[in-house]
Structures are given as structure tokens and as C-alpha cells.
Symmetry: D2
Subunit: 334 residues, 4 copies
């Protein structure tokens, strides 16, 4: 950590600050310039409250030098992490397509969609059993029954299942789920993240609506610091002033996350845009931009979907898209 | 709900849509204009997926006419709600000052601060026992012990206590807490909100970092629809591009929420700005703008605070501020 | 325009509003529902101040039915516009690569870069002679001399030149410039836009930092309504809370603008990200997402560039990128 | 400027960078820590492209130590600037109320409003003659005739006039205008700012929709560096995801700007909210938060205003507000 002192600070006040910092167990390197004094703090700076130091009368500014994330930091783990779910691999050159309906609605629906997306080349099945809804009056998912229907679809197709967990207390229902998804609204549900760290199961962690990349990585860090290193990051759009689409897909996050971390990064163009006809161009863009995979909503009958029908592709649309995705992927990895 | 059809839609397609909407149990009023056809939907439109209808080929746009929130809607409950906590009242002309440290750190600290803020005119004591932290490596609060220390401070001063709950599983520890605070990151933790609806205890609900006023009210709706009508809303800053302050305090939310809802609205200038010297002007601004109260961080020794020292006032600063707050309040309610 | 009245409005007040609207020359269709009354306004609603009507005591809400942009609206002009600059075509299936340095610095520099980008397949040369700079103390471009150097580079390579105009008073200097670029900060410099409408010259109009797609189209409308229909739109990133990149590239704007308008849409990944190593993935993403072209900063010696060196590609990097762009373009237009 | 090098950089590369920086005329102080090397750059660092240095392979990060604004920086000019317009003073303890219609519409209108706001205590008259409008089809002001009507209103009331300039070429029409207003959309119209620096006339500079405080101060710097030190800053709302109000009023900008700069700071609650009934609470909030003045839209007949009627107060509403503003001002300056 670097602390820049204001011009004209008295030696007494400077020594007082240095004394206080030393009591926190740090070594202090003083660099006295003509116009400013810079303190370099060496040691475990995680004990220092950056904002507090920055607020002191004699301090001009404070700068963190090392990133606060460790386990997910590429600096300490240069090779890409490959997350394996049965035979499916994600990251490190392995690209995954996950598809399925927003909500599981019936056995017929989920099995039909599962077969269709498998035929189109998807390697995993998504489907919500527990649904976070802004309104208490909206359909909130079939819950345990929905999980049961997902298991049936898995049995019928062999596709591993990805589904969202909202609440620690439901955890035991998810025992044989292949990948647990943590939604944008729970990205900073820290107690939940800590519990996930105790599992031996991949976690699909979605970026929150208003979270920075650093915050996303700190949430991955919660899971990893508790022992579970199988984390897949997911960009799904952020909230901005722009109002034509539900969210603003921040695709530059993909190469930036790859720079900062060794974890795989996939993209959800369905929630990012909220509009079915924008899903194919954004899925292709994400692929070209280096994503390690896509998670896409597909419904056999969007007109009668119980949620998010507006952003769902029909199976034949998904199939046409999947083919183009593979072709783009081939070009960018050539 | 109003559905505007595109120009030139065939009668067949129009009738198909009307048929589908009728099956959802709605009555449809058709208004045929020269350039457009407008469908007015009457009945329980909560079953209709607005986004889906809006995405149909023949639909130009959809507009929701009635707000989706009922229990907290001023239209159905014109008088201000007054939330009572013992002798303390909030809303409907009653102004409250809540003060205390970010985190409870020790008996001496919390009792000292409690006495100081009481002497300065605060009517409730705040203090965090369970702390949400971006980093898994940061101090996360004294937990059960912190709650115990708050009880001691309450006993010593008579001030009711306000403290944050992060996790349903901790609920029983909060049995004798006077007001449960739900932080910005949990504003859309829907399962948690539902549980709070079953309590007979006031809830201080903070607006999320990137949540609209409608979403805040829908979260209040979750609590109220489950039976608990004692909700206090709290504006605490939103996330924007602006980078000088930690968040951007959205003060216009105060009169706007009063327009939309009968619930009391208080303001947290400490978290909104993150900078101690901005707290007094923003506390005064919130008061002048019509807030029903303030929640302010006060620490007897900000230099040694375990969290958020940078935004904490010293007791004497709080005391000077409280006096001005009362004077401003007197002017605006004259 | 649709005006929804509040529940329980008296007939007298309703008739008063209708009378006022009729005086503005509109026809009013009244649709009386059980819970609300909806007024459909037919005629030239551009004279009606939507915000004013919406603020009236008896009005619940107002909704604009027809878009306020006409000339650039795809509804009235279903075929793609193809903008021609000499032999170069943009839009309607024609893809363009524009490349060159942020600033023109010397004859040697601009000619070297022009030759290199031409060899790599670029069809137009970009280069700033008049530079908008946040600080009055920064290098603001070579101005008239810079334009002269661009002309030399054009002569040497045959590449048409694209360069930014900031000020109406400089317009005559731009007489033989091939494409005039209007930067993000001038997107709503309405007097300037109107002047551009009188020219017979293509305009490259960049989206402002905080402008919606509708506002971008309204600015195109300023140019087109004054008579110049040769407008190329450019997405170059918007300002959000996200702080790892200079701006947030909003790629979904590309297909959305294609839906709303017949004008070509290109993407500037250099300004959108501000980081050279993010330019290739975002250029490929933009191509896959359906952009009609790219505008990319290339500098032969980024270390000594007078501005924006951090986001410039070296010629060899651009050449490798251009090849991949062509391959991706081939896949998505197959 | 502080440059932090990456861990493990070779001495050769380090010396190469130091050599390059020295060639730019800077002195370099090297501080070698255990984990990192920090370079302190002393001299005229305005020649160094921070982004470029930050993008180098061997550099971890770069931090600017001194603010890039000089003339408006409080560090170099600790006393508040007081801008005088005839007898009216703004800043340094002097509070100003500016009021009037959005647009000048007729002699009767502007004179009536001018007399009314004067009677209510306003010290200056605002009124738009040149109006920036998003749509080319909207009313754009009476232009020269509007300025003439403002002069008549000034003659009738003695109130100095404040009106917006959009275009350098109109400058001579503004010769006897008392204060030239630069709107949000022109905050970074740098050529215009430079011209304003040559005038001997106060400039009211509004913050752009998506501009940081630093950018606002850099724009003030353009004016001041060209010789005109009479700049009044104006916060008028920023663009965020929040959609209930037209913009989000960022009131913490007021004390923050006072901290950074010696220039007066006023607030425009009319444009910030766009909703008349939110103007009084936000005007009072701004006053309590330490603003040096207010600029408020007042119209004698908002229903027939040619623009922004929705946000205009009636004269009697303004009069009631002005009285409360004075009372709040008295409390906060006591």
C-alpha cells in the first residue's frame, strides 16, 4: 500500500502516523520527494483500513498496490483453471454451451427442451426450480418438484444440470445437482458463499447488477478461500442508464477477467438483453470476444412460458445459433 | 395494462392475441384509432408477462397502468404510516435520529458511544454485530457477542437497538432486537424478506446499490404481504459513474417515495458518502428534503475503528450536527 | 400518444383536458375502462409536451406511441442505407475497416501508419487533427497542419480520410475531408449538427458517453432533417460504474440500432476500452455481433504517441486482427 | 506522479523506463521495497500520458498525486471566490436565488415572471433564448428576439439576466448579457470554453450529464486558464439507472466541490428532477447542504409553457419556497 502525504506536513504528524502504522505490524519505507512524501507499507496490509487512512488530515491519497484477491488471482496461478462436470470441461480452451428454459414448468416441457438442446449441441441443461422474482405475487418456481423434473430430464438425456440456489436452507435439496448457480442478486450473500466453499461441486457465480470485476472476484474468493476451487464466473449484464435492453452486456469483462483471474468466464446473453432477437448476435459476440461458454434460455413455447418468455429462443433458433457459435469459436481459437 | 399494437396488424392476428389474453381471465377493451389499435386489459394483470407481450411481432409496446405494489402503495392507504418502537415514533411527522458505530467492538466502546449519542439527542442506537464485507479476509463482526453488547448498551441508556441481520439462520439470535436492519446487498434476498414478514418487529429496509424505487417498494411488499406492516425505508446512496464519494446519495428519492408510499423514509448519509466531512451537510440536506429520520455512524475513536472509520463522526461532531438538524427540521415543518 | 387518466377523475376535469388537447389540433379517442380512462391522441403530437401532460394532477401517465425520429427510422425506410465514400461502401452488407493513429503527429508517422493499415486491409484512414482534451494543458492536435498531413497520406495510399470536426468555424478547413467525424462530446451540439446537414459529405456520428439510442438517433435526425442522409452511427462505449475499462462497450446497441434504423453502425473498440489488449477481442465481438465496420487506433510507436498510446495497436497487431475480423465476418454473414 | 512497477521487473527494463521518463524532463525518485519498486516523478508531469505508462508490461499501476486543475484549485487559492454581478454577489457567504422561465416566450410572459420572482426575493432572472432540444422538431427558442425581451425585463425590474449560449458564433449577441450560462451538453465544448475565457463576464457552468467533478473543474480550468476567473459551478443532476426523476441530483457534489475548489457552487433542482413537486424539497436540501445559490424555473402558466412546463413552479409556489430557503440558509450559516 502506498500512502501519499500532503505537501507541508510537519515531521511530528508524519512520525505519529508512521508510529500508528508500525503498531499494526507493518514496515514503512519513506520516500521523501521535493513536493510530497510517499510511504510504502510492507507487510499484511489487509489490517489497514484504506478509507480511514485516506481520510486523515495529513494524507493526500492512498493506493492499494496488491489486489485483495488471492485464490482466484492469475498472478499466483498462471494456468487457466479447467472446471470438470462429468465429461464436460469448461475453461482452458474448453468451450461449453448450457441451454434450457428459465423455469422448469412440467416434465414434458423440460424433457422436450432438454432433448432439443442436446440435439443442437448443448452440453449442459439449465432450468430454474427456485426463482428470484421482484414481486411477491409472481411465480417463484416449482421448487423441490422442479429439481425432481430436472433429474428426470438428466436421466433422459445424460446432460448435467445447472440450477439456481437462493437460500442456504435449501442446500440439501441440491445434493445431486451438477452445478449450483448463484444469481446476480446473491453475488454478495456472503454467508451463502461461505457455505458453497464447503461443497465439492462446481459453482456458477453470476456477476451482480452493479458489481465491479473486483467485487465479483472477491465473491469467488469467498468460495475458494473456504475450500472449493471449482468456480465458473458469468457476465450477465450490468445496470446502466441505457434503457433499450434490460441490462447492458459488458463484454470487455470477459478478456479483463481472463487477465485478472485463471477462472473460466461464461456469458448469459439472455438475461443481459432480455430480448430474444438480440440473443444470437450477443452470443456470437461473446464467443468472438473469448468467452469460455454461453448460458442461453431456450423454451419450446415462449408464448406460454411462465417467466422470461420474451428472452427465450425456440429450439430451432438455438440450433441455428449453436452452429454459428461453433464456427466463430473455430475462427477465434485458430 | 395497455397494449399498443403495431400499425397494419391483421384482424386475424389481433383476434388471436385477444383470445390468448382472454384465456388468462382478462377483459379486453379495444380502442381502434386511425394509426394504432390500443387494447386496455382489465382484471388481474399480474398473470401477464409484460415483457413477453411486448416482444410479440404485432405489439408495438406495453404499458403497465397500475403499480405492482399494493400494501405499501399510498393510493390504497393515503395516511402516513407511523412505525412505533417503544416510545419512539417514525413517520407521519415524527422524526428519528439513529446513531452509533459501524461495528460493535467492545462493551466500553458501545456503551460510551450509546451514552454520547443519547446525550446528543439520538433516540435509537445502531451498531453492527454481523457485518457484510466485500472481502472474506476482513473483520466480519462480533456476531452473537456483539448482540449481547448491544443489549448491555440498551440497558445502560434505554435506547432501542437497530442492527443488521444477514441470514435467516441467525434469526433467533435477533429475538429481542428492537429493529432489524436489512442491508443494501440483501434488499432482494426474497426468502429472507418473506421470513421477516412473519415477525412482529419493525424492519429497516435499505435500498440496494442499483435498485429502482419500484424495486425497493416491491421488497417492502414482500415483507408486508407476509403480514408485517412495520417497514421503514432507507435511502443510502446508489452506484453511479461518479467516483469522488463511495456512492451517490439520491435525495430526490425521499419526496418521491413519500409520493408513492405511506411508509416512513430515512436517510443514511454515512454510507452514502463514505467521507466523514460530507456527513453533516448531507444529513442537513436530507432533513430539509423531508426525510423522516437519519441513521448516522458515530465512533468515539474513528482512528481505531475496525470498519468504516473514514465515515464516522466523533460524538462532539454528532452533537453539533444534531442541534442543526433539529433547527432545520423545525423550519421545514413550520 | 396515449394518456392514462387517474381513477376517479371528474368528468369536468377530463373534458377540460380534452378541450386543451383539441386546441393543439389533435383528435382525441376516449376509451373508458372500468378502472381507468385512456385518451388516444391522433395528429401531430410533436406539439404536446409529454412531461407537462404527465405532471397534471388528473393524469396517471403518458406514453409515446410513435418514435420521434422519422428520417432515420427503419419503419419508414425498410432497406439498409449504404453510405458510399468513393469506392468504399458501408452498410447493407458492406463492412468497413477504418484505422489510424489517435492524433496526426508528423508526415512520417501518418504516412507510415497509412501504408501499414492499407496493407493490412483497412479501407479508410483515421487520424485526429483537432483533438478534444479534458485538460486545457494537453496536446490538442496539429489542427490545419494535421489536415494537410492527412491529405498527403491520402495521396500516398489512396485511402479516404476520416477526421474529427469540433467547431463550426473550422468547417471550411474540412472541405476535402472524405468523412467528418463528430465525437461523443459533440453528439448533442445541435447547431453543429444542423450545419452538417447542409453538407454533401458522410458524417460519422459517435454516441455520447451518457446518451440513449433514442438520443443518438435524434442527433442523426438533426443532420438528416437538414438534408444530409449520409450518416454512419458509431458505438464507442458508455459511462457506467464499471471502472476497469475507460468506458463500457454496449455491443447490444448494434443489433438494436439496426432494428430501429436503416443507418450503418460501426464500433470503436479503442475508445470503448482504452486498453490495447482488449481491442482485438472487442473488435472480433463487434464483428460477430453484426457491426458494419470498425474504427481502430493504430500507431507505429505507441510509447511515443502524443495521445492515447495506451489503447493503440501496433501495425503488426492490427494486421493479425484484421485477418481474424474477416474470418469472423465471413462466418456471421454466411 | 507515482509509478508502481510489477514484482520481479529486471533492472534493465526498469532503467529503460527511467531513461524514457527522464527524457521528458522529469526527476525520478526510486523507492525500492521488498515486494515492489515505486518511482516518484517530480517536475511537469502534464507531459506524461498516465494511461500509456499504466499500459506498459512492467508497470503495475500509476497514480496521479497532484490534481491537474490549477486555477480553480483551492490548494492554490484557499479563500472562497466571490463572483459579483452588479450588486449581486455569489459565493464566500453570499447566497443567490436565480429564477425565471425555461424559455422566454413573450414580453408579457417574461416581464410578468420577472416581477413576480423579484417580489419573491430572486436576485437574478433566468430565461432561455437559445434552447438545446433533443429533437430537431422541437421549439428551439426565440433567439435574438428572446435576448431583446430579457433586456426589457431587466429594464423593468433591475434584475441581471442569466441566459444560455450554445454557439461561439452567437457570442456578439450576448454582449450585454450579465451572466452567460453554459449548459450540460456544452460542458466539454472546449473551443467554446476557451472563447469564454477571453470575456470579462461571469460564466455559469453546468455539470454535464455524465461528468465527474474533476472533469467539471477541468472545464472551469479551460475558462480560467484563458483569463476569465469569474466562474460559477452548477450541479444539475447526473444520469444514472434511476428512472423516476429525469436525472439524479448529486448533492454531495456541493460540499465536495467546495473542498476541491474556491469557486461558488449553485444547484438547479428543476432540471435535476424534472418534476415540479420535487423542486421545493430539493431546493431546501441544496440550501441545507451548503449550496451558494439556486437556479429555479418559474412560469406564470406552466400548462401553456413552450418547454419544461412539467418542472416549473408557479410564482406563488416559488414565493413560498423562497421564504423557506431563507430560513434554512439562516440555520445552516448560524
Amino acid at each position: 500500500m502506498i500512502v501519499v502525504l500532503k505537501h507541508g506536513v510537519t515531521e511530528e504528524k508524519r512520525e505519529q502516523l508512521i508510529g500508528w502504522l508500525k503498531k499494526l505490524g507493518l514496515q514503512i519505507h519513506v520516500s521523501q520527494g521535493e513536493y510530497q512524501t510517499v510511504l510504502g507499507l510492507v507487510g499484511d496490509t489487509s489490517r489497514v483500513d484504506m478509507d480511514l487512512v485516506g481520510s486523515l488530515e495529513i494524507v493526500d491519497s492512498v493506493k492499494q498496490v496488491s489486489e485483495p484477491f488471492k485464490c482466484c488471482n492469475r498472478k499466483f496461478h498462471p494456468e487457466d483453471t479447467v472446471v470438470e462436470i462429468g465429461d464436460v470441461k469448461v475453461g482452458g480452451g474448453h468451450f461449453v454451451m448450457i441451454a434450457g428454459p428459465c423455469s422448469v414448468e412440467s416434465e414434458e416441457q423440460i424433457v422436450t427442451v432438454a432433448k432439443a438442446v442436446k440435439a443442437a449441441g448443448a452440453q449442459m441443461l439449465r432450468g430454474g426450480a427456485f426463482k428470484p422474482r421482484t414481486s411477491p405475487y409472481d411465480f417463484a418456481g416449482l421448487k423441490a418438484e422442479g429439481l425432481e423434473l430436472l433429474r428426470i430430464a438428466r436421466k433422459e438425456t445424460g446432460l448435467p444440470i445447472v440450477t439456481e440456489l437462493m437460500n442456504i436452507m435449501d442446500l440439501e435439496l441440491f445434493e445431486d445437482v451438477d452445478v449450483i448457480q448463484i444469481g446476480a442478486r446473491n453475488m454478495q450473500n456472503f454467508d451463502l458463499l461461505r457455505e458453497l466453499g464447503k461443497l465439492d461441486k462446481p459453482i456458477l457465480l453470476k456477476r451482480g447488477l452493479a458489481n465491479t470485476l473486483k467485487e465479483l472476484l472477491m465473491s469467488a474468493e469467498y468460495i475458494m478461500a473456504s475450500g472449493n476451487e471449482r468456480v465458473i464466473l458469468c457476465e450477465r449484464g450490468i445496470r446502466t442508464f441505457s434503457d433499450y435492453t434490460r441490462n447492458t452486456l459488458d463484454l470487455a469483462a470477459v478478456p479483463m477477467l481472463h487477465e485478472l483471474s485463471h477462472l473460466p468466464v461464461i456469458v448469459d446473453p439472455s438475461h443481459a438483453t432480455g430480448i430474444a432477437k438480440l440473443v444470437p448476435p450477443m452470443a456470437l459476440a461473446a464467443t468472438a470476444g473469448g468467452a469460455d461458454g454461453l448460458i442461453i434460455e431456450v423454451h419450446n413455447d415462449p408464448m406460454h412460458a411462465l417467466c422470461d418468455g420474451a428472452q427465450s429462443l425456440r429450439p430451432e433458433e438455438f440450433s441455428a445459433l449453436a452452429e454459428k457459435v461453433r464456427a466463430v469459436r473455430k475462427v477465434v481459437t485458430a
